[in-house]
């Protein structure tokens, strides 16, 4: 059963939450929210966010695809494409 975009979005936000140093930006997050700039996630931790996404959605994310993820929306679209 595939999840809706909204469900995937909420799941991604919950995965990023422990890494985000800007909780107010997280609370107001949208598809356009930048994971590094807006949520102040340490860039080194993107590796861990991707691992968590792989586990949560049971997908494999290629390094070159992971490198393109800048916003929450980028992650959501990548997950939906992998699940399609």
């Amino acid at each position: 059963m595939s999840m809706s975009e909204q469900q995937v979005f909420e799941k991604v936000v919950s995965i990023i939450k422990p890494f985000a140093k800007a909780p107010e930006a997280l609370a107001a997050a949208s598809m356009e929210t930048s994971i590094l700039k807006d949520l102040k996630v340490n860039s080194a931790r993107l590796v861990d966010v991707v691992l968590e996404i792989e586990d949560a959605f049971e997908i494999e994310v290629k390094d070159e695809d992971a490198d393109k993820v800048k916003t929450i929306g980028d992650a959501v679209k990548l997950i939906l494409a992998a699940q399609a």
Binding site: P18, F19, A20, K21, N42, A44, R45, L46, V47, D48, L51
Partner: protein, 420 residues
């Protein structure tokens, strides 16, 4: 040079008040550790700080804890406590670092638990891509000091030293010398050590841990005792804020004690010394070096906080103190072992025991050593100098603290109660 802040996370107490209560009451921090029994360790007891799961959230965010093993968590809690205790304001996240303050925070074994539990299994299974981003910062030797630097915004030298069981005391000497050179105004100094079966297994295999008191943990750590049969492994962290007197005065800081002098050396595995045994000549030279730098007479020392681990070396250590200070057994300063209460916290031992030394100076007491009522026969002539029961000592002025470690390395520091 003065001490303006103290932080301690010990198996028998977190924070100065709890630690003082435990020291005064002779409260042991040694407990039975079921995992060690399941794994057939000879020694199944150890010293582990209690309640850290509840404490750590007050000090560290989830994001920080995600990349921290117990060694780093312990160092962070004690360092933050020492900073707060010194009365310094926290450096804001968007402010410049404090260029005048650094840290020497040592560890003996470091992040071996992270290596054993995560790095090695995943690497060997061909799952390097699954290691995540946090391995290096947890296993690099400087992991504890590096994390503290970010938490506190330190801008001076930040490093981790390592000299086995001498680590914490060596850190105090190194930090002392840096301030004395004029290269820093303040330095956090001390050590931390996590608790892990992987840290303790090697010592158990060497048969240097006491295996005879698994059913009576509080009696297991027996420095200076005739029935001493090896040390008890411990863990935790102890950190001191060392500060130039000028800096402390300029900001009106509360001063616990002066750090008068310190010395470190090595016995070179000669003259009876080895990887695991101390060269008595080097031990005596180290003690004399610290006393000479302190500019005091040996008879001015009121209390020795010994290394005293409960191995065969205890009687030799006490005799080395006597010989180095050129005193008689009757005139030796009072002597105590903090390890009788908390075990041997390895790289954290010197830091925790320096905190104990300064705390006793500041609050005027000498804690008793547990489990040496059956004093080792070679120590009989020193019997009157061993502190068995805690006593109030408002006149306590000078405490000497030493640590001796694998590698034949030694460290000694001299603290004096501060008076204007």
């Amino acid at each position: 040079m003065v001490v303006t802040g103290l932080g301690v996370l010990a198996p028998n107490g977190h924070g100065l008040d709890a630690f003082e209560r435990a020291l005064r009451a002779g409260e042991s921090g040694i407990r039975f550790v079921p995992e060690l029994a399941e794994l057939k360790f000879g020694c199944q007891v150890g010293g582990i700080p209690q309640g850290v799961d509840q404490i750590q959230g007050r000090y560290l965010s989830d994001e920080e804890l995600y990349a921290m093993n117990p060694n780093m968590v312990y160092a962070a809690i004690a360092a933050i406590d020492a900073w707060t205790d010194s009365g310094l304001p926290r450096v804001a996240a968007d402010a410049e670092p404090d260029w005048s303050t650094g840290a020497v925070l040592g560890t003996g074994i470091g992040g071996i638990d992270t290596i054993a539990e995560k790095l090695a299994p995943k690497t060997d299974a061909g799952k390097v891509a699954r290691l995540g981003s946090t391995m290096v910062e947890q296993i690099m030797s400087s992991g504890n000091s590096a994390r503290v630097a970010g938490l506190l915004g330190l801008g001076n030298q930040v490093t981790t030293n390592s000299s086995a069981c001498n680590t914490g005391t060596e850190a105090v000497v190194d930090a002392f010398l840096r301030i004395r050179e004029g290269r820093a105004e303040r330095m956090l100094a001390g050590g931390s050590e996590g608790h892990s079966k992987y840290i303790w297994a090697g010592f158990d295999a060497m048969k240097v841990l006491n295996r005879s008191k698994n059913d009576a943990p509080a009696e297991a750590s027996r420095p200076m005792s005739a029935s001493a049969a090896g040390f008890i492994p411990g863990s935790g962290a102890g950190v001191l804020m060392l500060e130039s007197l000028d800096s402390a005065r300029a900001r009106g800081a509360r001063i616990y004690a002066e750090l008068l002098g310190g010395h470190v050396n090595c016995g070179g595995h000669r003259q009876g010394g080895s990887m695991t045994a101390p060269n008595p000549v080097s031990v005596q030279r180290c003690i004399r070096g610290a006393v000479a730098m302190a500019g005091i007479r040996p008879s001015e020392i009121d209390l020795i906080n010994g290394h005293l681990t409960a191995t065969f070396a205890d009687p030799h250590e006490v005799e080395n103190w006597r010989a180095a200070l050129e005193l008689t057994p009757e005139t030796l300063p009072l002597i105590q072992s903090t390890k009788s209460l908390i075990g041997h916290a390895l790289g954290a031992a010197g830091g925790i025991e320096c905190v104990a030394s300064v705390l006793q100076l500041g609050r005027g007491f000498a804690h008793g050593s547990l489990n040496c009522d059956d004093l080792h026969p070679e120590l009989a002539r020193f019997a009157a100098r061993v502190v068995h029961q805690t006593r109030d000592l408002p006149e306590l002025r000078v405490v000497a603290k030493a640590s001796f470690g694998f590698g034949d390395v030694n460290g000694c520091v001299i603290f004096r109660k501060f008076s204007e």
